[in-house]
Symmetry: C2
């Protein structure tokens, strides 16, 4: 699998100098936009060089060894090129062309021919009908149609979140949104129709991949439910997944897009429960929620303390937390007394109403009191940014959360564009709505619970092993 | 009520030149930021002028007639100033000070004294514990703490949406968000503890107010359920309302913020149903959804046609529409045939997959086919903005929707900051997520249904009147 993300040499089959040629855009981004330093070849009828990549009429004409082939020709000629790749000894193929299983009987017949060639020659195939791979570590990217500006945004700093995404359009939204956030992408893979490599294979890969901390998924169907659950079970990193097809209408629409069977959505829900996958409710949650994992310790319990200097948000967040199955932390008289001593606070019971004016010192004391209290598992701070001091206090809060090992899902009540500006300028994980902040706490708690259950289960297994000796232990695994 | 929004002369009681004086910020915005040309007086201990507003030691010292008093002193001295206002003959008071019903027994006693004076002297009171009024028509604004930049944003072009908001913090978020959208505010009123004027009074006022087209509400409680329902029933404009206190925790938090009884939330839900109020799910819906009413014809039926060139959104929107109780329009073979003839479309059944490349002409033909079809009640277009032509097509779509009398809730699949930029630049109503677009269709349909029911009911009444003669008709009304 590593070759897909870190090839030394690539051939783009179907790249030419014709106007609107999509393969040419791949050559361009590999050879001109990216500092990735592998060799790139083009294959086209005229054997012409494309954006500085030497051109050949056939794959077998390329004089050097090639690690990876990217195919972006009309569907009808793809099977022949797959044969050429087999002859050349290329073991890794990304087929970006569409018109296979999602395109009727003729497409399915071509798909079968490709599958046979691949099987016989031990080739691994990504796609068809996909966008391929982006690796922000080495800046390798075989997406088509990318402009210089987009490339710069997408391949920016190398982050820790990797995505498995069945649709190219969603890749673009997720990556664009990251440019406004504190989290960054690590690797992205768009798997399309999944004729060979599927979501389960990618889960396995990202679990092993050291630079991946969180895994995100956009799926239109599951190729193999059993394999998917098994793979998910082996993953110890948080997995956030969005899947379409909750209704039969949605499921039908997805089928015409990336083929695949119309899955029973309950099967996926069950897979999520068994494999500890967090099912998210929108595309925006896919890019908005990971920061609770990358920038905050996990939420280990349900009890949340809210503090705000915009009284309305006390009620709003209390509603949201309770509706999400979390709890408003009950603060003891001692804790309330400590809070009272910090300064002029309007209301020291949870939700804590800070009132309009607070000093930095008061903020820091409140953070310490709440984070050190065994009555509180996590924080939902809703501070108005009425003074530059408040954002400095938020920066300190993030440090204190790490110190105490408890998370805060911060929301600053203002229009989203202001939130985004502050978040980027200070690189603090601020959520864009109270709903999003509560969801972040919820998914963090969900993940902690799953890991705790899993650990308990493994300890029980271990206890059985220790009692029954090595032999039965081996068989249980 | 008109005097609150259009006074000729105002006294700000509690405005002085002390540092951090909130009253001074009101004098400043009235006298320096705003082109509103009424007279402003200040009342303070030193009888000093504030930001060019002549100062007096008592309200009764002001030589001229005064329409409206804005009180922003410590709670303890408010009752005395209310007495002074009574003596001066001022009939309209906005009490912005806090510390009354929400602040314990002493506060409640002061509140009672104020109520008695007001009753005896036929005075109307807004507040206490509020931010008062903004009227973007004449730029009259008595909010405290407003800076020049904020004022410019808030009082911008005069729009058609008026808000009744119980909390000052929410006022600021809503107004800031409008600066990124195509809709604009008309009048905003922050009613706080509602000792006298309540949400029902304001509904009545905005129903009569010609420049108000849509009404938004943020409530923490309902003062008088019966009065509220009766008022809502008389309103024929769309009302969008957000209320906290869905859970007992949220309700308790709201009580400590703006006093009031902890209402049974079901009572509010019933009031919404009976009064045709659309209950929204978040603060952001309060400012994001009105554009479906101001910029689009109403949705009169459930059948929605989706078209997109980002295949993934076919499945996503189909799920969302069906979950919202709307329907995917079934396109007849004739309609599909017409769509096929427009150009190279991937999939002509709903959701329509436009494929990547389309001409302006093709777009326009698709709009005409769908909007003129009696199989379709509204559109959910999800066009990728891959080419400047697409945004030009959206501009044309808005015109065609008005022509055919059917709405489109447009979502362009990209990061929110791009959406906002396009929306502002082209002044077209684009929603920020597929969820928001579907909610917009849903609330438009909900409002149409309510109005249709109401009209049917009135026609039945009329029929009874015609049969039974004038007398029984009068008694039925």
């Amino acid at each position: 699998m590593e070759t897909f993300f870190n090839p030394k040499s690539v051939v783009v089959i179907g790249a030419s100098n014709s106007p609107f040629n999509l393969g040419a855009t791949i050559c361009r981004s590999m050879n001109e936009f990216s500092p990735w330093d592998g060799r790139v070849y083009a294959v086209n009828r005229k054997a012409e060089a494309v954006h500085g990549c030497p051109g050949y009429a056939a794959v077998t004409d390329i004089p050097d060894a090639v690690d990876l082939a990217v195919i972006i020709t009309p569907a009808a000629v793809v099977p022949d090129f797959v044969d050429q790749c087999a002859e050349k000894g290329i073991k890794h193929l990304i087929i970006e062309s569409s018109g296979f299983s999602e395109g009727g009987e003729q497409g399915r017949a071509m798909q079968r021919r490709i599958d046979e060639t691949a099987k016989k020659n031990h080739m691994r195939i990504m796609g068809p009908n996909c966008l391929g791979v982006l690796n922000t570590q080495n800046k390798f990217c075989c997406f088509y149609g990318i402009q210089q500006d987009d490339f710069n945004v997408f391949a920016r700093e190398n982050g820790t979140i990797s995505y498995i995404i069945q649709s190219g359009g969603i890749v673009v939204i997720v990556l664009e949104s990251f440019s406004m956030d504190v989290v960054k992408a690590n690797k992205i893979v768009s798997i399309g129709n999944k004729s060979d490599i599927d979501e389960a294979d990618m889960l396995e890969y990202f679990q092993q991949d050291d630079s991946t901390q969180v895994i995100g998924m956009y799926l239109e169907n599951i190729k193999n439910g059993r394999k998917f659950i098994e793979a998910a079970r082996r993953v110890t990193k948080p997995i956030l997944a969005f899947k379409t097809g909750r209704t039969s209408e949605g499921s039908q629409a997805a089928m015409s897009h990336t083929a695949g069977m119309a899955n029973n959505d309950e099967v996926f829900d069950n897979a999520c429960k068994q494999g500890g996958i967090i099912r998210v409710n929108s595309i925006s949650e896919l890019h908005a929620l990971p920061k609770i994992f990358t920038h905050m310790p996990p939420l280990q319990g349900k009890r949340i303390a809210v503090f705000t200097n915009s009284g309305a948000f006390g009620g709003i967040t209390a509603d949201l937390l309770v509706q999400a199955g979390l709890e408003m932390a009950r603060l003891s008289p001692e804790t309330q007394e400590k809070l009272s001593r910090t300064g002029q606070i309007f209301n020291v019971s949870n939700p804590i109403d800070l009132g309009p004016a607070l000093s930095m010192q008061t903020f820091l004391e409140i953070f310490d009191i709440l984070l050190s209290s065994n009555e509180v598992d996590g924080l939902l701070p809703v501070p108005s940014l009425w003074h530059p001091m408040v954002i400095d206090a938020i920066v300190e809060l993030v440090k204190k959360c790490r110190y105490y090992g408890k998370p805060a899902a911060i929301y600053t009540p203002n229009a989203v564009h202001k939130t985004v500006t502050y978040r980027q300028q200070y690189q603090v994980p601020i959520f864009e709505s109270p709903e999003e902040a509560v969801r972040a706490l919820k998914v963090s708690y969900q993940n902690s619970r799953y890991l705790a259950m899993k650990m308990a289960l493994e300890e029980r297994k271990q206890a059985v092993c220790n009692r029954d000796g090595e032999l039965s232990c081996g068989s249980m695994r």
